[in-house]
């Protein structure tokens, strides 16, 4: 009996909690991609860099607060800096909208052309980040690191497996729930949200019924900037900020958006968790888990790892390919907000 509890705790500690956290980060990122796709109708390759920029501005503001001895006690100072970071990310995205994307939208360019322009934007933001903060790893987490430490948990329950709960993980989940609630409430209940859905559904019809396109686009970039900044900051807070990782995040985020049905916000969230769970479950070594459950004679000798962690891209890719083959429109039908 104890062994079963141990096994459950093991899975919770190494799969469930990390996957929920990572999934939340992916979901926020995929939601941003989906918003751009649904309303501005292009695949935004620079989204990872927007996230990175958000995290960078958060770090800069955090440093400013820290040097002035402003902090939140148990909570990381980054939370206090987050609103300022969101503001700067929104300003950045509005600037790029004004100088780059709006031109193509008015010209009604093909989606691939705008996607190409987003590659240029990616290069520029990438350069800005590296010039401002450099290419090195930065840890900007402060405050209390753990809510439950592995050792505390062991003492508390008497199990031999520990369960560690980092405060970043809890913060990530709470902020994600809050933001998702806000976004869906906005889309379903407010007039502006409804007009955005209409715009996404049928642009010409929306224009005919008097919806102001520039307002819709403005709101979209507000939402996208916020989501990107929060997603980037949470990711950086949880795993340490490394500028180059954000380019690699583009793939799982896109996979999440497409798997869920690109252009569909609920799909993006579901897709994010799908990708995160499968990535972590497939690259986890189950040796210890089976050790608890099976009798000694049947104990596995190998690692029982389906794929090594080097291949975590392969997981999101495989899921993407399977979904494209079996159900090209994604789990939820895509292409409207």
């Amino acid at each position: 009996m104890i062994d079963i509890f141990n096994a459950i705790v093991l899975l919770t500690n190494f799969i469930f909690i990390p996957a929920i956290t990572y999934g939340s980060q992916l979901a926020l990122g995929a939601l941003g991609i989906t918003f751009i796709y649904g309303i501005l109708r292009f695949a935004n390759f620079s989204h990872g860099e927007f996230m990175s920029f958000g995290a960078m501005s958060c770090i800069l503001v955090t440093w400013f607060f820290q040097s002035n001895n402003i902090n939140l006690g148990y909570l990381p100072t980054a939370l206090l800096a987050l609103p300022f970071a969101i503001l700067s990310t929104i300003i950045l995205s509005l600037l790029f909208n004004k100088f780059v994307f709006s031109y193509y939208r008015i010209q009604r360019s093909a989606p691939v052309v705008i996607a190409m322009a987003s590659i240029g934007v990616m290069f520029v933001i990438n350069a800005i980040i590296r010039i401002v903060i450099g290419p090195n790893d930065i840890k900007f987490f402060d405050g209390q690191k753990f809510i439950i430490k592995a050792k505390q948990f062991k003492n508390m329950t008497g199990l031999s497996e520990g369960l560690a709960l980092k405060s970043t993980q809890v913060i990530t989940v709470f902020i994600t729930i809050f933001l998702l609630f806000l976004v869906f409430w906005f889309l379903q209940k407010t007039k502006t949200g409804k007009s955005m859905r209409a715009f996404s559904d049928n642009e010409d019809l929306a224009l005919l019924s008097g919806i102001n396109p520039s307002k819709v686009v403005f709101i979209t970039w507000l939402i996208v900037g916020t989501l990107a900044c929060v997603a980037g900051t949470l990711y950086g807070l949880d795993k340490g900020y490394k500028p180059f990782t954000y380019l690699g995040l583009v793939l799982p985020i896109f996979a999440a958006a497409i798997v869920g049905g690109i252009g569909n916000p609920i799909g993006a969230v579901v897709g994010g968790y799908t990708i995160a769970f499968s990535e972590i479950m497939i690259t986890y070594a189950y040796k210890k888990f089976f050790k608890y459950l099976l009798p000694e004679s049947l104990e596995p000798t190998g690692m029982i790892q389906l794929l090594s962690t080097d291949y975590k891209f392969a997981v999101s890719f495989t899921i993407l390919v399977i979904v494209l083959l079996v159900r090209p429109s994604g789990i939820f039908k895509g292409r409207t907000l």
């Binding site: 292009f42 695949a43 390759f45 780059v100 031109y103 989606p111 691939v112 052309v113 996607a115 190409m116 322009a117 590659i119 240029g120 934007v121 990616m122 290069f123 520029v124 990438n126 350069a127 800005i128 590296r130 010039i131 450099g134 290419p135 380019l247 690699g248 583009v250 793939l251 896109f254 996979a255 497409i258 090594s308 080097d310 291949y311 891209f313 392969a314 999101s316 890719f317 993407l320 390919v321 494209l324 083959l325 079996v326 090209p328």
Partner: protein
């Protein structure tokens, strides 16, 4: 049309002048290195230009296809390691056969039970059983191979053929992978292909990094054989020394002292041997470049090229005219990726070292895209020009931005933190410059420097 001809000549002239300028101002060795990389980049951008310019396919997996070409260079030219083959070659072969078998069975099941919903379960079952089978033979043989002299080899080695063959093999490798990926994603929306190629390129790099039995992974393969002479051999060859003597006659005649003469000559021979090797590479690369350019131009003006343009410009009507859009897309996707693979093999031939870690998407995928867009999509000469200009800018961006920063901050003292920070981040200004170039060209000259020539005939 006349203006376009003039732009063509003018841009080629400017490019040559720039390379000459580097030769005179910095060094000839650098100038030829830039030239060689320019040619390789030009071939890559021609491959992408076929996909984008002829057919409007958005491929962001260039890095993966390049790396496959590089893998071909290793597998073709490295001497075979018989010990490793006898240790685990059999197991690898068996696992390979099993994988092929699985794919065939899956393909067959998919064909046979076209509408049956149960087919997915059958396919899953087949794949799982197959993977377990593969795992049983694969892991022991991989361990056996990697245990063979791990500090020097620890992989299967290659075929021991001249490396020049790898240019063809690399093209075939890339084309094969492109076929598989194209089969799955072409026919779906264009951005899906983009994401799928992005994914496959990351996976190819991950495989090359972690499968050490294949090409040593992150331990890198060094000292691949060259298709051109080695500097050290040249320096001891009679005809080369006399040739150097002949070309530097006027300079050498002024030196009277015998010892001094020897010393100067020796120095000249060393310098010229480095440049000579680079010229040899440049000649080989130029042959490939011109061949591909010739073929690409021929294809573009042929009925096939017209059909591709028709498909690109209006897929629906081309379809109505009875053209098999998906098939043609697959065709051009495979050909273009093959060309990228050839360039990848050439790249590794030039470096004679294979380092999977060095493949970065910004450098190997997105930079190539900038070349295509800047040069002029749909125009092969434009793609070459884009390759030259962007590679040149990529290399010279760092010295140029250093120059500019030094001027702008000349009022500040040397120990000013802001100035030091700026000078430290010089390498990253090239990204800024590249991004800005792309955005400006897309906005103000969307057809590129040399726009596509449309022939009405």
């Amino acid at each position: 049309m006349i203006t376009s001809k003039r732009t063509e000549i003018l841009s080629i002239l400017i490019m040559s002048l720039l390379l000459l300028f580097v030769g005179f101002m910095q060094s000839w060795s650098l100038s030829f290195s830039i030239l060689n990389m320019c040619i390789i980049s030009a071939i890559m951008s021609m491959g992408i230009n076929m996909q984008w310019g002829y057919a409007g396919i958005f491929n962001v997996g260039i890095m993966g296809f390049t790396a496959l070409g590089g893998l071909a260079a290793v597998l073709v030219s490295h001497a075979p390691i018989n010990e490793a083959w006898s240790a685990g070659g059999m197991g690898i072969m068996i696992s390979f056969l099993v994988i092929v078998l699985i794919s065939l069975i899956v393909y067959w099941v998919n064909k046979r039970f076209k509408t049956n919903k149960k087919k997915y379960w059958i396919i899953t079952l087949v794949i799982i059983i197959g993977l377990i089978l593969v795992k049983l033979v694969y892991h022991p043989s991989v361990e056996a191979i990697e245990a063979v002299n791990p500090t020097l080899t620890g992989f299967l080695g290659g075929m021991g053929l001249p490396i020049i063959f790898s240019w063809i093999v690399g093209g075939l490798f890339a084309a094969g992978v492109a076929f598989a990926i194209g089969k799955i994603t072409l026919g779906l929306r264009s951005d899906y292909l983009a994401i799928a190629t992005l994914g496959i390129s990351e996976i190819i790099i991950a495989v090359l990094k972690s499968e050490e039995w294949l090409a040593r992974g992150v331990k890198n393969v060094v000292g691949l054989k060259r298709p051109v002479p080695y500097e050290i051999n040249l320096q001891q060859t009679e005809w080369f020394i006399s040739a150097v003597q002949y070309f530097n006659q006027s300079y050498l005649l002024d030196i009277v002292d015998k010892l001094e003469y020897e010393k100067v000559l020796n120095q000249l021979v060393i310098e010229s041997s480095i440049i000579f090797v680079k010229i040899c590479y440049a000649v080989l690369f130029f042959i490939v470049l011109l061949t591909i350019l010739y073929l690409a131009n021929k294809a573009q003006v042929s009925p096939w090229g017209r059909m591709m343009r028709a498909i690109r410009d209006n897929e629906v009507s081309a379809n109505a005219m009875g053209k098999d859009v998906v098939r043609r897309h697959l065709q051009v996707f495979v050909i273009g990726s093959g060309v990228v693979g050839i360039a990848g093999a050439m790249l590794i031939t030039l470096d004679s070292i294979f380092t999977p870690v060095s493949f970065q998407p910004l450098r190997y995928t997105f930079l190539i895209w900038i070349m295509v867009i800047v040069g002029g999509s749909g125009n092969n000469l434009g793609a070459i020009l884009g390759g030259f200009i962007i590679w040149f800018a990529w290399i010279e961006a760092a010295p140029a931005s250093q120059f500019v920063i030094n001027i702008l901050t000349s009022g500040l003292e040397d120990n000013n933190t802001f100035k030091i920070h700026l000078l430290n981040s010089i390498p990253y200004f090239r990204y800024l410059i590249m991004g800005t170039i792309l955005l400006l060209i897309m906005r103000y000259r969307p057809k590129g420097i040399l726009p596509e020539k449309i022939r009405y005939s």
